[in-house]
């Protein structure tokens, strides 16, 4: 398994996916080696049961992000070669997104084993408003990966359609396997009062939470624009934004302009335990994304028993059944976010119904199922690959 992020290096859903899948494959008795980037405070080598994590330092400086990606791929390739000598060649190489395509393709031909590629997102979706020469390189690598891979996995039906359409791969080469969640990680008696106080929530306040990178894609600016409208109906409330990113200053300024800065908490990155506590103590979790290939936070909120409001985009639209286990709203629409959020906050029975159905749904998205489906993709890939 080659990936640029793996806990505790968590940039997005990719890290959670590789962690959940690797652990489930290992618990099914398979030997799994994850090659990933090093991270401050994390060990270079970890080993539990048949799951091995190899964190690779990039000891050569690069002049830019994109050349750094190519550079760390060389280090991944070297580690893959070392592991093949130590443990024998792998039966399957599994790469995730464009970031590990060069190492995956090189290792495929050097070690003569099939490659499976999972698309968690595409550059076309990420950079729709700002095409650049860097984007052209990323799209090229995405195409190369989809071409060299024996099978392609997408994290939602929407993502699969995108990949098939953009890279012109035969539809039968691609399969959608949604992400999953471990409900056990979201169980437990969180001390809601202590958690809420830590985020500045006063007694009687309703807590509205959003989690993710503070980037334009996540639509947190729309949620902040919606917040004054929400406060008109629910004055005793607090908005909690968990996560960090390059839009933080801009979002803080927006909250100030709209006179909601005092009742908005920017929590930054938090630990897994704090994230669970935040979700479990929320009165509503809002996912206002402009695009979302899957949206694992929606499943995590469901597993934590929080009522959910999501944008009707990508994988989110597939996960949530409108008004049954969450509410779907049009993206880029602060008024719609406000109306849906108020409808949850003002009707406790409705909110409890959404939360209960959400929790039930989250249980059906298990990593064991993902691992079993992925294993059958591996078997197809192993049967179908030709090297001549």
């Amino acid at each position: 398994m080659l990936c640029w992020e793996y806990p505790p290096r968590i940039i997005g859903g990719l890290a959670r996916h590789v962690e959940g899948l690797s652990e489930a494959l290992a618990s099914l008795g398979h030997e799994v080696h994850v090659i990933t980037l090093d991270f401050p405070g994390a060990p270079y080598e970890e080993h539990e049961g048949s799951l091995y994590v190899h964190r690779v330092p990039v000891s050569v400086p690069a002049p830019s992000f994109h050349s750094w990606v190519l550079l760390f791929n060389h280090f991944f390739e070297k580690r893959a070669g070392q592991l093949a000598h130590e443990f024998g060649p792998p039966d399957i190489l599994h790469i995730h997104d464009w970031l590990t395509v060069p190492a995956g393709v090189a290792a495929k031909h050097l070690l003569r084993c099939p490659v499976v590629m999972t698309f968690h997102s595409t550059e076309a979706s990420r950079s729709s408003n700002s095409p650049s020469t860097e984007s052209a390189m990323v799209e090229g690598l995405e195409w190369w990966g989809s071409f060299e891979a024996a099978r392609v996995i997408a994290v939602s039906g929407w993502m699969k359609s995108e990949v098939v359409s953009i890279f012109k791969i035969p539809p039968e080469k691609a399969v959608d396997i949604p992400n999953a969640v471990d409900p056990l990680k979201f169980e437990g008696a969180a001390d809601n009062q202590a958690t809420r106080r830590r985020w500045g929530v006063e007694d009687g306040d309703r807590l509205i939470t959003a989690v993710g990178r503070l980037t334009a894609q996540k639509g947190f600016d729309d949620l902040i624009r919606a917040y004054p409208l929400i406060k008109k109906s629910v004055p005793a409330s607090r908005l909690l934004l968990v996560g960090d990113g390059y839009m933080r200053t801009e979002l803080e300024r927006l909250a100030e302009q709209l006179h909601v800065r005092d009742s908005t908490t920017f929590a930054g990155f938090v630990s897994d335990a704090e994230l669970v506590a935040a979700l479990r103590s929320s009165d509503v979790v809002v996912v206002p994304s402009r695009f979302e290939p899957f949206g694992i936070i929606a499943l995590e909120a469901m597993a934590a028993g929080a009522p959910l409001v999501v944008s009707r985009v990508g994988g989110l639209a597939e996960i949530v059944e409108d008004s049954v286990d969450g509410i779907k709203v049009e993206p880029n629409n602060p008024s719609a976010i406000a109306v849906a959020t108020v409808s949850v906050l003002s009707d406790r029975e409705f909110a409890a119904r959404l939360a209960t159905r959400g929790e039930e749904k989250a249980k059906s998205y298990s990593w064991e199922n993902v691992a079993k489906k992925t294993l059958s993709v591996y078997q197809e890939a192993a049967r179908g690959t030709r090297y001549e």
Binding site: W4, E5, P8, R9, I10, I11, G12, L14, D38, F39, P40, G41, P57, V58, S59, V60, P61, A62, P63, S64, F65, S67, W68, S121, R213, L214, T215, D244, G245, Y246, M247, R248, T249, E250, G268, F269
Partner: protein, 79 residues
């Protein structure tokens, strides 16, 4: 984070400055970024205050490296 810190954090990450052992001297970093040291110092004060980087004195030189939060924030611009 505005464009300035975004470039700064990204540069620290791709140059490998994510531990005290691989911290970069501020004058060296300023020269790589084509910035004046006082301007860079002001930018570094902001990202240090935000918890993205740590400044340290080693061998008589002020050096800087990214924290775990800084690495994730720098990466989040590209994910």
């Amino acid at each position: 984070m505005s464009e300035g810190p975004k470039v700064l954090l990204s540069t620290l990450m791709v140059l490998g400055a994510q531990s005290p052992e691989r911290a970069l001297a501020i004058d060296e970093l300023a020269s790589k970024l084509g910035m004046r040291v006082p301007d860079l110092q002001a930018e570094l004060d902001r990202v240090t205050k935000a918890g993205y980087a740590v400044m340290t004195r080693q061998g008589g030189r002020v050096k800087v490296y990214l924290t775990a939060t800084g690495v994730i924030t720098a990466s989040s611009a590209y994910s």
